[in-house]
Amino acid sequence: MNQAAAKPVPDAAGNGRPLLAIRGLKTHFPIYRGLFSRVVGHVRAVDGIDLDIHRGQTLGLVGESGCGKTTAGRSILRLVRPTAGSVLFDGTDILTLGGRKLRTIRRYLQMIFQDPVGSLNPRMSVASIVGEPLEIHRLARGRRLRERVGELLARVGLDPEDMNRYPHEFSGGQRQRIGIARAIALNPRLIVCDEPVSALDVSIQSQILNLLADLRDEFHLSYLFIAHNLSVVRHFCNEVCVMYLGKIVEIAPVDQLYESPRHPYTQALLASAPQADPSARSDRVVLSGEVPSPADPPSGCAFHPRCPFATEHCRLATPHLTTKQGLSPDHMVACHHADEVLSWSDIPRRKPQV
């Protein structure tokens, strides 16, 4: 485990309250049809999740594409408007705030995006990209602003001399550093990282991950780390939450999740990740099928159509995220069969006939 991350940062307020408490968060997108654009249904992108993020903690959010992890991250920052639920940041519900109060609180909540090209305005110089948040929040201007931008660029490993250049003059890894400099400009408390390294070359990924880890220790940052690369999550996070079709199916401290996953979906996901070791090439579990449409989720447990262990009960009743016997209290699973030991080796693999 990452020792630096495992140490809890002393709580500034002196209580055990989480920095961010998400309760019953739902984000549904309406589907319009017909001449009068009637609402004919909803895409349940995020469908009732509860999460706590503590100070200095890094929570990983994993799942296949379409499971709602990006929407969850954006809903927390109110970049999309959630349908229901509450997001308490240090005790204040972000979802009910408006105007100036929302702007003030957003100072403490920042985001790093996946696409370092699309998330930087090509017509703005690096100095204006990184300085813009400082100007908006009236924290610096003029010479002081340029000094501060120079400091930020140096902190993320860029040359402050380059601040008058434009994003296209930088490589992918450097652009991601610009995005990170912008995100830390306001001394935030929490950064939502949405796939921050998946668009980068392998040799650059580790540079950016090390930078994010350094910043976490230096500024006592908390991260919500959204990623699909399970090795990156294992390295970087201290708690991991697995999402499937808008719901959390398993959440646990990182080592527990990787060493004794209880939900069959988590087990399948971990088994599918290719190991960089040719001797580990084996008859891996291959989960058949794909994530169903969140506009029309399956009944009961949403995973049951793909689950080799599903029973009639799974088809009818929705499992809730609960602690299980024999598991530590911070390991929660939403599966009717989580108490049984599931053996994937008995499952016949479906092979295409050629």
Binding site: N2, E64, S203, S206, S231, R234, Y258, S272
Partner: protein, 373 residues
Amino acid sequence: MTDANGDNAPLLEVHDLHTRFHTEEGVVPAVDGVTWSARRGETLAIVGESGCGKSVTALSIMRLIPPPGRIVSGRVLLYENPDKPPTDVLALPERRMRGIRGNQIAMIFQEPMSSLNPVFSIGDQIAEAVALHQGLRSTDAMDAAIDMLERVGIAAARQRSREYPHQMSGGMRQRVMIAMALCCDPSLLIADEPTTALDVTVQAQILDLLRDLQNKRDMGIVIITHDLGVVAQIADHVCVMYAGRIVERTDVKELFKNPMHPYTIGLLESLPRTVAHSGRLKCIPGSVPNPAQFPEGCRFHPRCPLTRRLADESPARPREEFGSSGDVLLRCVRGTPNARGGQPDLLEVRPGHFVACWESEGYDAAAGSGRSS
């Protein structure tokens, strides 16, 4: 099928391939002297980061390099029939080349959405390829297309063949691409990042499918990827490319057990593992060079730990000074531009293990005995 001594029949040999792009910024040597061979029933992985020339190598073999790119020299020998001498694909007239693309060598691309035509149903698109290449009537071609869709694991293939690309998920589209590539029974499949846009679960399904199809048809596969996990799962032999050149070539077990080029070692060490470990990740400093400005000397030398040691300690000094000055303790001096070592050749430093690094163990002996690839 994993025989390093090459018991399998050769299928395609690339010899000293050079592909350049003549741009306004100058001549870009995107592929600069690449040599490898693919065999029947085996998988060769070409691994490297963006801009290393792996996709340009594939497009050169298919002769699909768009202008201002041009294949400058080299040979691509295709063994259509094991008993007959090979054909040089690069010397064929375009008419015959069209008979080779699809029939002999098929290719699948990274982004299935942009490789499929959005206004034709997928069945029509596959049937068109079958009709063109095999001269079947349209109804027979459609039956062949549906049959192929079933083989790549698409359920209810007859109904789904009437669907359009946008109605399918990413994994399904990639299966359609594979079906289209395989419908004319090619002897070699070139897959350019076939699973990069897909989720891990679907990636595992697609890799499984490729392996299965290969076993049943004795097909050669060349897979182009940046993901060393994919390489470890599917490849028999591996070429590691950096800045237009192959820096290391060997079989997959040897590569992961005993990597020799500093770039390969750096790539393997920078991977976060799913097994628990602590601390910081190792990095390769700097970034992939722009192909228009490849460094002189060994192209990896600005990022190489063997030439960088003192550059770290006194960053104020230009890197070019290192290697020549006597007070600098560097292991590698020959890779730097002013040391006149130039670019190292890819030499067989151990049986079946080729490395292009001045400092790799056995390099000088291999250079002396003239063992080159």
